[in-house]
Symmetry: C2
């Protein structure tokens, strides 16, 4: 089956790059003995809360995979992209540590979040430390032989993306208080919160692979559109996903009154009475089970699930469209297609 | 009088560089319309909480002053150092926004802190945004003509310092729970929390001024020792400073059970009965006025104020010692001496 073939290809991607990324990430934290770094290792799933080594889970490392596969797709040497791949994963994880504080999430991957274990002050600081560590890690690009101009260009991509990420997070938090969020607002928010770092992942890979500027720009657009696809699918899973697969309670994003894509779509599309119901429920301080059921029923009536999935698929197709006609390494091009397919169809 | 002369010289330093730094900082935030950036402008004292422009206070900009004066002291062009100076100020202020959350401080400069106005989630994110903005600002070094190798070297200094800063903050927070903190522990904490960024300020200035590596290293040591002097004096003001000058309540750091230098010194030097009293008071969840008075009396008996001031002065002397024998621009060398003098003798 085509789907099985693509899933097999994703596993192949992780097999191809996973160990390399993990080694580079562990190098970034090696020899850092201060207990401060134990919080980071805990968050990454490498240690328990008492600092005992234990592989709790493996991150999917989607941003590093995107970076390395993009680098090889343009004929580059993946070894030279590894510090950037690790820096991207650290940037993503710094943002998760802070997101968990900002959203008040007590659990991630089925265990307590950093702030839940160590309190907000140390968790804020652990995130800051991981943000700083991402930059320190990036400097290893010089050690693996990249010329300074190229290191600077990669750093600029990642720094601009980090700034956009914070802008998106600002909007996401502020939308919690608003009932008038429209699909355009949502997409602008996701452009920062998710798509910017995905764009930098693909773009930096192509850049390190010595692609010309125009091709780097196309890879950025590829990554940006993948980011939209990823986030919309994430929103779908946040409402309809299975708890055992995502580690989230089904409907949790409804209960948290998140302005995720299906909800924003419903608020925009609903007829007057349904919209009023939605607004009244989303205007409450807390939702009860009846409220969640009522929201679910409205989303169902409006076909919000199917429409959202269609939007995710459209963004993935748009992403791949940016790579059409480029002279890419065929095997790696297929890997990027598999990644896009995974982003849209993943179950967790 | 010598003292007046030196104060005049500090004012002269601010006159020489203040407007340039402010312009560069405002450039970093110019055109950034998202309300996210209003939190940053509020924190910097440029706007009130409703986003209306208003100069609430002027930051002292000590790190930018250190950077620019160091650059000119080695014969460099201050214009080329401006993006680094602004980035240093943004790094410092990102850490203040997060410190205020971590310490639960409701006020800074006599008005509500960012988290107090906008809540912890947006305040965490505003700090992150300012951290990212510091990096984006640093890239303007390329635009003012620095070669990529030099930009990379400056970025490396600042990134390593940021990581050290988070390490120091980890220790500072963890010391709140500990009663066995010794002067060596304290100095190791300050090496990260304060001295690393001061070292990077002086070092980056010298680097941009094209000083040879050995001289850059001496400027880093100069800045590092200034950092110790600054923090010890800060601790003195936190206990004995006048409320109207520091914007802090006198004794506030005692009440907050901070392991600041005079307290750590007292814990280390006190005879058995005084130490037991201190440990019992610092082991409480909250101090009352009697506790604060008792701690003050013990500090007084041990001469903690005078000893702390002596340590601050010694670090400043050590700082200046690192510059001896270098072929510096005489006027700018005297500016650096004035800065050191200010660090040790400031009243706020």
């Amino acid at each position: 089956m085509a789907a099985a073939g693509k899933e097999g290809r994703l596993a192949g991607l992780q097999e191809r790059y996973g160990a390399l990324i993990e080694t580079e990430l562990r190098r970034a934290l090696a020899g850092r003995e201060l207990a401060h770094y134990s919080l980071m290792r805990y968050h990454l799933g490498w240690e328990d809360r008492d600092g005992r080594p234990h592989q709790w889970f493996r991150g999917k490392m989607l941003r590093p995979l995107l970076c390395l596969a993009s680098c090889e797709a343009v004929g580059g040497d993946r070894e030279r992209a590894l510090p950037a791949a690790a820096a991207l994963e650290l940037l993503h994880n710094f943002s998760l540590i802070h997101d968990d504080i900002e959203d008040g999430s007590p659990q991630r991957h089925g265990r307590d979040t950093v702030w839940q274990v160590w309190g907000i002050p140390q968790a804020v600081n652990a995130g800051d430390g991981m943000f700083a560590l991402a930059h320190v890690t990036l400097h290893r690009l010089s050690a693996v032989g990249l010329p300074a101009e190229q290191v600077m260009a990669v750093a600029r991509l990642l720094d601009e993306a980090s700034l956009r990420l914070c802008e998106g997070q600002y909007s996401d938090l502020s939308y919690e208080q608003r009932l008038d969020v429209r699909c355009d607002d949502y997409l602008e928010m996701v452009a920062g919160k998710t798509a910017a770092l995905m764009a930098a992942s693909a773009g930096s890979g192509a850049l390190i692979g010595n692609a010309p500027n125009a091709v780097v720009a196309l890879f950025q657009e590829f990554g940006r559109n993948l980011g939209f696809a990823f986030q919309i699918r994430d929103d779908i899973l946040g409402i309809w996903g299975e708890a055992e697969e995502t580690g989230k309670l089904t409907g949790e994003d409804i209960r948290a009154r998140k302005k995720s894509f299906p909800v924003v779509y419903a608020l925009e599309q609903a007829a007057a009475d349904d919209r009023q119901t939605l607004q009244s429920i989303y205007g409450k301080r807390e939702m009860d089970d009846n409220d969640v059921a009522e929201v679910s029923a409205i989303l169902q009536r409006l076909g919000a699930h199917a429409h959202s999935q269609k939007m995710a698929a459209e963004h993935a197709a748009r992403a791949l469209h940016h790579l059409e006609g480029l002279d890419l390494v065929p095997e790696r091009h297929r890997d990027l297609e598999a990644l896009a397919d995974y982003f849209v169809n993943r179950e967790a």
